[in-house]
């Protein structure tokens, strides 16, 4: 232990004098970079762009659905909107933004200078980015159902046989298939990189039992990507063979199976939900302790629960198919598997509550979003239990209740936690704080908008409103609920624009952050904000899960309480 580099010495205090460069050089620098931080930022920027695009698509849909028998958009346009909205949000917002944060933070948190495979990292980003551009190029190049569309209009889960040549002539479905195929390659590349980095690039002293929980969760998520994305890629290839080489995997008119596609899609699709939510848990695991001023409660249980969720979530996919007629045996199995996943998920929520318990909670904007996440994730989990009850699901599946449920997960939990992460790590990435005043407006406006939209969206589902309809009958009593839902979209739009403005404004005029503005405990806060290209002037070495705590509290360091025999579980005297 005597050879440890004290964490303070990793600070490089020589100020870099960046000469004024021409924009072409800057561009060249970004395009050719293999620096994990720049790639991370490009992932984030790219995802934010698509967040605005897909958010706008959602807004158009909400205008159309505000009143019954509306003619704001045609059915063809509406069908393209929900297909593009779903596909974009999952593949070109959710995945890249989470990988962006992972790319940026993982090497910094484990005391490494870059990812394990920097060039694979760049390749993965660019091929994913190309996938997104290809999808949107379909607006110019494709044509959909009966030649009526341009962008894909088969829905984001693209059930067979609607995707067959007969029902989907033209090329819009091919754009969908190819863009997912490409982005899948990038996703697997980045996941491979994260696994290799987390296992091989840790600084001295950072055993797996001292790995920050964020890195643990990214490790689990990346392993899930291997299992989940491969079937999707396989299914896309089969679909292309069906469409162009006369195979009949999903071609029901020639004896193929529509249900086969559902199985392929959902064995990807359900783990995908967890692939997206685990990074949100990862942020919560870092942010909630810092603003509660307490160590995370039950670190080993948190790791075990995450790994447990990873495994169990691979066996729940057919709960999307309770109405397909799988028979009582299969339905019962998937009910049990789905309910089982609520146990480790519950452990996480309880451990976060226990982390808050006895703390001194600082309500920064980042923490406010994290609390919003906790509250909304609780509700999303409970509506998830309702959906896991197969008979209840026979009524709820395919209805607006499901739409409300998964938006509670994706917006109420994941997006709230992402906003929290932005307020928390933006100072590290840019060197400046985001405005807390604007942040509070952002939080409250978004919270109001979110609850107006997604609380009330459950109701039309209970009243029999199916999803993916471009309009509805006036006599069903759905209008009042849809009006409220649509009105919430306005608040969310304003809040999001305010957030974008805050990011731009703060970049130039925000308060200078310094290395460690939150008085935090993990390694990324030991280096400058923004960190130098090489991250650390000297590779640090650590003796506990919270190296900066040890540094700030030499009289009572964590390393006294964490032993390899009993990781966690020990209470301070």
């Amino acid at each position: 232990m005597a050879t440890q580099t004290p964490v303070t010495e990793v600070l490089d205090l020589t100020v870099e004098k960046a000469p004024q460069r021409r924009w072409l050089e800057v561009l060249h620098d970004w395009v050719t970079t293999v620096d994990h931080k720049k790639i991370g930022l490009m992932y984030i920027g790219y995802a934010l762009f698509f967040l605005v695009v897909a958010g706008f698509e959602a807004l158009l849909m909400r205008v159309q659905l505000a009143v019954p028998n509306n003619h704001f958009v045609s059915p063809q346009v509406f069908n393209r909107l929900f297909t593009m909205h779903g596909t974009t949000m999952v593949f070109f917002v959710g995945m890249p933004i989470l990988f962006g944060f992972g790319n940026y933070l993982i090497p910094l948190m484990i005391g490494a200078r870059d990812m394990a495979f920097p060039r694979l990292n760049a390749f993965s980003f660019w091929i994913s980015a190309f996938g997104g551009l290809l999808l949107y190029f379909s607006y110019f190049g494709g044509s959909g159902l009966y030649g009526a569309g341009s962008a894909p209009d088969v829905g984001w889960f693209a059930y067979a046989p609607l995707t067959a040549q007969v029902f989907s002539p033209g090329h819009s479905t091919d754009y969908w298939t190819l863009s997912l195929l490409l982005t899948g390659i990038g996703t697997i590349g980045t996941s491979l990189n994260i696994v290799a980095t987390a296992i091989c690039m840790r600084c001295p002293g950072m055993k797996m039992s001292r790995l920050p929980l964020l890195v643990w969760l990214y490790l689990v998520t990346s392993c899930m990507v291997f299992v989940a994305v491969s079937p999707l890629t396989a299914a896309q290839i089969m679909l292309m063979l069906d469409r162009y080489l006369g195979s009949h995997f999903f071609d029901t008119q020639a004896g193929g199976s529509a249900v086969l596609w559902m199985h392929f899609f959902w064995i990807f699709g359900h783990p995908e939900v967890y692939i997206l939510i685990l990074p949100a848990f990862a942020f919560a695991n870092e942010i909630i302790p810092v603003f509660s001023r307490k160590a995370i409660f039950g670190y080993p249980a948190m790791v075990a629960a995450s790994v447990g969720i990873g495994f169990i979530s691979l066996s729940v996919w057919a709960h999307h198919m309770f109405a397909v007629g799988m028979g009582p045996g299969a339905n019962t199995f998937f009910v049990l598997a789905t309910m089982a996943v609520s146990v480790p998920t519950g452990i996480k929520i309880f451990n976060w509550l226990a982390t808050l318990w006895g703390g001194k909670i600082r309500f920064t904007v980042s923490m406010m979003f994290a609390v919003g996440f906790l509250f909304q994730f609780l509700i999303a989990g409970l509506t998830g239990i309702m959906l896991s009850v197969a008979p209840f699901d026979w009524q709820l599946t395919g209805s607006y209740f499901v739409v409300a449920h998964f938006h509670y997960v994706l917006v109420g939990a994941i997006l709230f936690m992402l906003f929290s992460a932005f307020y928390y790590w933006y100072p590290k990435m840019s060197g400046r704080m985001l405005s807390e005043t604007m942040g509070k407006w952002h939080f409250w406006l978004f919270l109001i908008g979110f609850h107006l939209t997604f609380d009330f969206m459950h109701v039309p589902g209970l009243l029999g409103m199916p999803r993916r309809i471009y309009t509805y009958e006036a006599d069903r009593g759905w209008m009042i609920w849809n009006m409220v839902v649509s009105s919430g979209a306005i608040f969310q739009t304003i809040a999001t624009l305010l957030f974008v403005y805050n990011m731009v404004w703060s970049y130039f005029k925000g308060e200078v952050a310094g290395a460690d503005p939150w008085d935090a405990w993990t390694l990324e806060w030991s280096t400058t904000s923004p960190p130098a290209t090489y991250n650390f002037a000297k590779i640090p070495s650590v003796a506990s899960r919270r190296p900066l705590w040890d540094l700030k509290h030499p009289e009572d360091p964590d390393s006294h309480y964490e032993t390899t025999e009993k990781p966690g579980g020990e209470e301070r005297p």
């Binding site: 059915p75 063809q76 159902l145 009526a148 829905g155 059930y159 046989p161 609607l162 029902f167 029901t252 193929g256 529509a258 249900v259 509660s292 001023r293 160590a295 039950g298 109405a323 397909v324 007629g325 009582p328 019962t332 309910m339 089982a340 146990v343 519950g346 452990i347 309880f350 509550l353 226990a354 808050l356 318990w357 006895g358 001194k360 909670i361 309500f363 609390v371 906790l374 509250f375 609780l378 009850v389 197969a390 008979p391 209840f392 699901d393 026979w394 009524q395 599946t397 395919g398 009243l463 029999g464 409103m465 199916p466 999803r467 309809i469 509805y472 009593g477 964490e562 966690g568 209470e571």
Partner: protein, 337 residues
């Protein structure tokens, strides 16, 4: 006792909250919808209790343990607690017990619904989903109709369920009449079954619940639950050949000399197409275009002229008839009682 009482209260609150909504899942009128309703009340009660408990703790913690330091003042750090095996074990085991209980209740309803023994006198109906309409045929009764399903009411003392055998002619659909039962997907190259036993006469609405193409939104479902006598009369009427009325012979000629006959059937004429709805008794139905609009002469005329008027994306092409022929064919169709 408390739980039972609470369950009952919740059921009353939930079923009255949404008034007389025609597609409310909490206003069941048949056994399958009823057993879902009972189970869903149990689930709502349990999840509601969990919500109140956990959200209550969260709120308490946020208020009780908020930092009271002024901005910029550094406080002393609170005591650091790393975990507690006993507490963590407790909040692992308790959820497991809840899950087991909920699972058993769920499995029971799955089996009683999906494995219900079929009575010998149950009515059989074959349901075929099409883009974007429903074909109903009653093989034992020799009746074929479209978009408006008639079934006899089921007496609780002598159950008379209707068994639906379902498949699709093209893409995936899903049959959903919330007050009668949950959804069953209607999938090409696959046969699914479900059963309903509505115990009150009346009209029950629903619609296709699986995205099936451009006009998915207007693939509506209407189920008429008749008294046994009214049902028998309806069957007898539907078995009749099409009405022959010499006053509309011109309209019939227009129908028979245009592409109409390639897709539609009118029994007793040369029209034997299977691609579109059977029109033998089209005038006996309340709506056209799969429930999209009321069955009036003006609507029929508009629909024949151009189906896009009501259903953009419908597969029936505009018929390009002149005004005179349109009037004639409309007159003919309105006589097909």
């Amino acid at each position: 006792m408390f739980a039972c009482h609470g369950l009952y209260d919740l059921a009353v609150i939930v079923s009255t909250a949404f008034g007389d909504n025609p597609t409310n899942i909490f206003a069941p009128v048949g056994t399958p919808a009823h057993s879902v309703f009972g189970l869903s009340m149990l689930v709502l009660w349990i999840t509601g209790a969990i919500f109140v408990l956990v959200a209550g703790i969260l709120l308490y913690v946020l208020v009780r343990y908020r930092s009271r330091a002024a901005d910029g003042v550094t406080e002393q750090e609170p005591p650091q607690i790393y975990g507690s095996n006993q507490i963590e074990l407790a909040w692992t085991v308790i959820p497991i017990l809840i899950v087991v209980m909920l699972f058993l209740a769920t499995a029971r309803v799955i089996y009683t619904t999906e494995h219900a023994p079929k009575p010998a006198d149950a009515l059989d109906v074959t349901v075929i989903g099409h883009q974007f309409w429903w074909e109903y045929s009653y093989p034992a009764l020799g009746v074929v109709t479209a978009n408006e399903l008639h079934v006899p009411v089921s007496d609780p003392k002598h159950m008379l369920p209707t068994y639906l055998t379902m498949s699709s002619a093209d893409t995936d659909h899903s049959f959903w009449v919330p007050r009668l039962a949950g959804k069953t997907d209607v999938i090409p190259n696959r046969v699914n079954t479900m059963w309903i036993d509505p115990q009150e006469t009346g009209l029950y609405l629903g619609q296709c619940a699986q995205y099936c193409g451009v006009q998915h939104a207007k693939m509506l479902i209407r189920v008429y639950v008749d008294t046994p006598a009214a049902f028998d009369a309806w069957v007898a009427h539907q078995r009749q050949p099409a009405v022959e009325d010499s006053r509309v012979a011109e309209g019939r000629a227009v129908f028979e000399h245009n592409a109409c006959i390639s897709c539609h059937t009118i029994r007793g004429t040369v029209a034997t197409g299977r691609f579109g709805p059977d029109l033998t008794h089209v005038a006996s139905r309340d709506t056209i275009a799969s429930g999209a609009v009321p069955n009036t002469a003006a609507n029929i005329r508009s629909f024949v002229d151009n189906p896009e008027n009501f259903k953009p994306g419908a597969l029936m092409p505009p018929m390009h008839l002149d005004s005179h022929d349109l009037d004639a064919v409309t007159a003919y169709l309105t006589t097909l009682k």
